[in-house]
Amino acid sequence: MENLQIQATKYTPEIALDLKGIISLVGKSYPENTFEFYAPLMQWIEEYFKNEPAKKTVVNMEIIYFNSSSSKLFFDFFDLLEENANEHEIEINWIYDEENESAEEAGEDFIEDFEKLDIKLVTK
């Protein structure tokens, strides 16, 4: 299993998946086909937890703009993390600009929905 790196585009974030346990998504997210775009990410995460994950996994998400299907996908993504949260230590940082109200609200929604996950809201 290898690290996965996807460059940012105008519509999609930079994705960096490191086997050392650092997962980061930075940028905008409004792809035309969201689920297709994120399929490699979801697949990698599944594989990662099936194989030998790092002692602690840190997920840094800094999404400045996202469409509603991305929002749905993030819920699915967190579902996947939550499934592994019992056996593995996972820390999630939802990073956003203070003035970005929709990012803040989305972060609050995630915290509310995923009681088992350790999601921190981090303002820049």
Binding site: S68, S71, K72, F75, E101, S102, A106, D109, D113
Partner: protein, 256 residues
């Protein structure tokens, strides 16, 4: 019999549990979906509001730039006070009664005040000369139409493109004796024909250091004589048909 029954019950219980799990998951999904939708609706509204605010900001900025350019042109001409504002209103009125679209009328209202922008490139010594121009000076002053066009012609903005036409053609005459290109009749763009009439009407009715204002009778007589000569006959007819509206604009925007 007894064991068979138990087995069925066990199966049903398993089904029941599965059903509950599935429906729980479905309910959770629907709730999430609703939440996403509500957030999305809220954000769309915000984004639309922001977009509209930006649109207004752009339009206001454009108006201000255009008006300022008109004022610059005016500061270089012998017209003063509310001249460009009145020309804007007369042009709008002529455009409306001529049957141009609403959008064009509003654009022409903004573009027509820029007709003299080319005067920024005319030397002060000539422009500010008291009294009449000699032939050579007049020829130089007349280049302001071409100069205005040169300044504005490269813009890709609709409004500035329109202003370029106005600057270029506002001294053309319907009978082909105007400048800079001696265009004739309908070859002169309607924007040019409209601004020509609006500009002259206002200039004649205003008093200047070097001349007193013409009285209305003299202006009307001249307009009738110049119908189809200096001016588009259709526009002259519009002018007289709606005279009260033109006079109302003049009265409401007098120079103090």
């Amino acid at each position: 019999m007894q064991t068979h029954e138990n087995k069925l019950i066990a199966e049903i219980k398993a089904l029941k549990e599965e059903f509950i799990n599935t429906t729980d998951k479905l309910i959770k999904d629907v709730k999430r979906q609703d939440k996403i939708m509500a957030r999305s609706d809220k954000r769309q509204k915000q984004e639309y509001d922001e977009l509209m605010a930006l649109k207004i900001e752009i339009e206001e900025t454009q108006k201000e730039v255009v008006f300022t350019m008109g004022a610059i042109g005016e500061s270089r001409s012998k017209e003063t006070g509310n001249h460009v504002k009145r020309v804007a209103q007369y042009s709008y009125l002529l455009a409306k009664h001529y049957g141009l679209s609403d959008k064009e009328c509003k654009m022409l209202e903004q573009a027509s005040p820029m007709h003299d922008i080319g005067k920024i490139a005319i030397p002060d010594a000539i422009l500010n000369k008291p009294g009449r121009f000699n032939d050579e000076e007049r020829a130089i002053v007349e280049t302001h139409a071409q100069l205005g066009y040169d300044i504005l012609q490269y813009s890709k903005r609709e409004l500035i493109k329109m202003a370029a036409i106005v600057a270029y053609e506002h001294h053309e005459k319907y009978n082909g004796t105007g400048y800079p290109n001696k265009l004739k009749g309908e070859d002169i763009h309607i924007y040019g024909r409209i601004t020509a009439l609006a500009d002259v009407f206002d200039a004649l009715g205003s008093s200047r250091v070097y001349k007193s204002a013409w009285d209305d009778e003299r202006i009307f007589k001249m307009f009738k004589e110049e119908r189809g000569e200096h001016f588009d006959p259709v526009l002259i007819d519009i002018f007289f048909d709606h005279l009260d509206e033109f006079l109302h604009i003049r009265d409401s925007m007098k120079d103090i």
